[in-house]
């Protein structure tokens, strides 16, 4: 096994991060096990370990789900507690799976896994169609603005590979997704158990002419997902050599990760919040001058003028600026045991800037199972999602989350415990 699948992985193969969520019975672990196993990612010692544990537990067959349980408590209780990250590669792409449990603290874990994902896979049982959990997963995927959604209609072997059964679910899925204002949707009939349409195209379902799941994961266009229009560069670190004797006496570079748009030498820029303007003189990456920079590149900018720039500032184009504001309107996912407190004060991190925030009113709580709104909620408990107004002690430079997942997101931190208590997605961008 493992006949060098990644051997042909070329250096410029892209990286796709995707998330999955699900509970014990929907076949998610079997699907992940199948992807890892069929791409020859499972190693002999891992398989021997899983086989050994399966035998000891009295499982009927090798339980591939055990491949994804990392902690002692998870193995003892037979549940997945936390997001686990899994890696596999084909000659065309490298993949990172954020595998999130569907039952325990589902919102907290799904939101965490979804925050960095370009694609999410929702598993639906061909016998049951959409259930509450699949709707919840789709609502959260849309909320986190994951660009690509795959609904894998699983267990097709149990419905006799029946096209009509698949089409009924597909119609239902497309109707539900149409109301989500969200991602590009692909629906694929599979059997994780037999492997049909997972890695290899299925011979049992000749009526399905689309790609197998892995072929779709390899081909889906992710280079176009990021915002390439609105130039945004949150300054992270100022590179300034201290030794006066070196050739770098006048070196002053502004380091950071591009959050949006395309930056090129010669571009006119403005530094916010000061409003000082200049021109990009040079862009460096690891010491080499480059012709352009775009997300997610980590680079160092040099400006034509000696201006005062520091961490927390944002470089953008004079004719295309983010909103500068302190009164924020956001969707908040509450992650902590202690509920969100009205008038509560929290530390807020947005791009490379920390500030403090006071919670105003909770406009409504979102029912993640239906997408419905409860305006009377007034508060948010653990794993709740809601629309909240808040006020920061200093202005932040932001875009709506729907415009930019980096400049539109923030976290709240409890100042007493330093725990990360909420994930926020900003609603208003430039007018």
């Amino acid at each position: 096994m493992r006949p060098a699948p990644a051997q042909g992985l070329v250096d410029d193969a892209e990286l796709l991060r995707f998330s999955t969520a699900g509970s014990v019975d929907d076949g998610k672990s079997t699907l992940i096990g199948r992807l890892l196993y069929d791409t020859k990612t499972v190693f002999e010692d891992q398989l021997a370990h899983v086989t050994d544990v399966s035998t000891r537990r009295g499982d009927e067959r090798v339980n591939l789900a055990l491949l994804t349980d990392g902690l002692r408590a998870e193995r003892e209780q037979g549940i997945t507690i936390d997001v686990a990250y899994r890696y596999f590669a084909t000659p065309r792409r490298k993949f990172i799976i954020a595998d999130t449990p569907g039952h325990v603290q589902y919102t907290r874990n799904m939101v965490t896994g979804a925050s960095t994902a370009s694609l999410t896979i929702i598993l639906v049982d061909a016998r049951h169609g959409l259930v509450e959990q699949s709707r919840r997963h789709a609502v959260i995927a849309a909320l986190l603005r994951i660009p690509h959604l795959v609904v894998a209609v699983n267990k097709m072997d149990l419905v006799g590979w029946d096209e009509a059964a698949f089409r009924r679910i597909e119609t239902e899925v497309r109707a539900f997704a149409a109301g989500l204002d969200g991602p590009e949707l692909t629906v694929i009939p599979i059997s994780a158990l037999t492997g049909a349409n997972v890695v290899a195209a299925s011979v049992e379902m000749p009526w399905y002419v689309g790609p197998a799941l892995l072929a779709h994961l390899e081909a889906v266009d992710i280079a176009s997902d990021a915002n390439r229009v609105d130039a945004r560069f949150p300054v992270q670190w100022v590179v300034r050599p201290q030794s006066a004797a070196t050739a770098h006496h006048d070196y002053r570079g502004y380091a950071g990760q591009v959050a949006g748009g395309v930056l090129r030498p010669g571009d006119p820029i403005v530094v916010l919040p000061s409003g000082v303007t200049s021109t990009i003189a040079k862009i460096e990456q690891g010491g080499e001058a480059i012709a352009e920079a775009y997300a997610p590149m980590s680079v160092t900018l040099h400006l034509a003028d000696a201006v005062d720039v520091g961490r927390g500032d944002m470089v953008c184009r004079p004719d295309n600026q983010p909103t500068v504001g302190q009164e924020l309107d956001a969707m908040l996912c509450w992650l902590a045991d202690k509920p969100l407190a009205a008038k509560g004060r929290y530390a807020l991190k947005h791009t490379t800037r920390w500030t403090r925030a006071v919670i105003g009113e909770v406009s409504y709580r979102l029912d993640v199972n239906t997408g419905g709104r409860d305006a009377a909620a007034g508060a948010l408990g653990k794993n709740d999602v809601g629309r909240v107004r808040l006020r920061t002690s200093t202005p932040i430079l932001y875009d709506a989350y729907r415009q930019n997942r980096t400049t539109g997101s923030f976290i709240l931190v409890d100042e007493a415990t330093n725990a990360t208590v909420a994930a926020g997605m900003l609603l208003q961008g430039p007018a």
Partner: protein, 302 residues
């Protein structure tokens, strides 16, 4: 419209450089754990990418078991001199001499576990509030659950059930007095990514990563370098074989693999075709129990 692609190695480098700069900005006294192994060697290259032409905003820290491969120490000193950065060496021997830990005895004695005390003592002595490590999530089950910015309490302990959720690239580096962070820029790299990056960046490595003739003996189905720190058991015999090391740790717990791979390209071909994980193949320290790594991590191990 043109396509703005980014290669997987480029995207991993972008993330790691971002992590290093975030840490440097958020913590006053970080250090970078440098062992002379390939993962920490890659960390040094990423630190160059993040901070040059300025100096690194942190010193390097080596937790030295005293049971090293001489080639690793020679490489360490050469690399540190080239970079012109400051290296602090914390010695397990000093912890033993000070009575902080007791040397294990017997033919299977190892200083692997003793390193945790030396590491935590060094962090405290130098008042470091963060330690950058080269651990990867693909290495081991417990590490798959690890955060990139991972919190340690005032006793240096990791509590896997109380980890801070980590969203987007918004890292929470806030601490109370006495606590520290472990920061893992290579979290999302696999063994193959590390090797491909070493090739792409043309990074020199200690020669023991490549096939060479060495006096070895076999124990528990692993090949060990014959060395002064291990006592042979009855029936164990020393022979010469062509081997290389997939990981480099303490000589008492790092196994070699039979291999003819003398070049980077040959090593990469082997890694891509490997059928056993690198720690499974070469690390006795993970074999102690099913949760050996989780237990050591909870205590404050790397």
């Amino acid at each position: 419209m043109r396509s703005y692609r980014r290669s997987h190695l480029g995207a991993l480098e972008d993330e790691a450089v971002h992590v290093l700069r975030e840490l440097a900005a958020e913590r006053e006294r970080p250090c970078l754990l440098f062992s002379g192994g390939k993962d920490s060697i890659v960390l040094l290259r990423l630190a160059e990418k993040a901070f040059r032409p300025a100096r690194f905003p942190f010193p390097l820290l080596h937790v030295d078991t005293g049971h090293n491969f001489p080639e690793t120490i020679a490489y360490r000193d050469r690399r540190v001199a080239e970079l012109g950065e400051r290296l602090i060496v914390a010695r397990v021997q000093d912890s033993i001499d000070a009575g902080r830990v007791a040397e294990e005895t017997g033919p299977r004695a190892s200083r692997n576990r003793l390193q945790t005390t030396t590491l935590l003592d060094a962090l405290e002595a130098h008042q470091f509030d963060a330690a950058i490590g080269g651990a990867r999530r693909d290495e081991e089950r417990a590490r798959a659950k690890e955060r990139i910015f991972s919190h340690r309490d005032e006793l240096g302990q990791w509590d896997p059930k109380q980890q801070r959720p980590e969203l987007w690239a918004l890292y929470n580096g806030r601490l109370r007095r006495g606590e520290h962070l472990r920061v893992f820029p290579l979290s999302n790299w696999t063994e193959l990514d590390v090797w491909q990056y070493i090739e792409l960046e043309d990074i020199p490595l200690p020669e023991i990563y490549f096939a060479h003739e060495r006096a070895i003996f076999e124990r528990d189905r692993m090949l060990y370098a014959h060395n002064p720190f291990i006592t042979l058991l009855p029936g164990e015999t020393v022979r010469t074989a062509e081997v290389r090391f997939r990981t480099i740790g303490d000589m008492t717990c790092t196994g070699a693999v039979s291999s003819p791979a003398r070049t980077l390209a040959e090593v990469i071909a082997e890694v891509a075709a490997a059928r056993v994980t690198e720690r499974g193949a070469t690390r006795a320290d993970d074999r102690a129990t099913e949760a050996a790594m989780e237990d050591r991590k909870r205590e404050g191990y790397f």
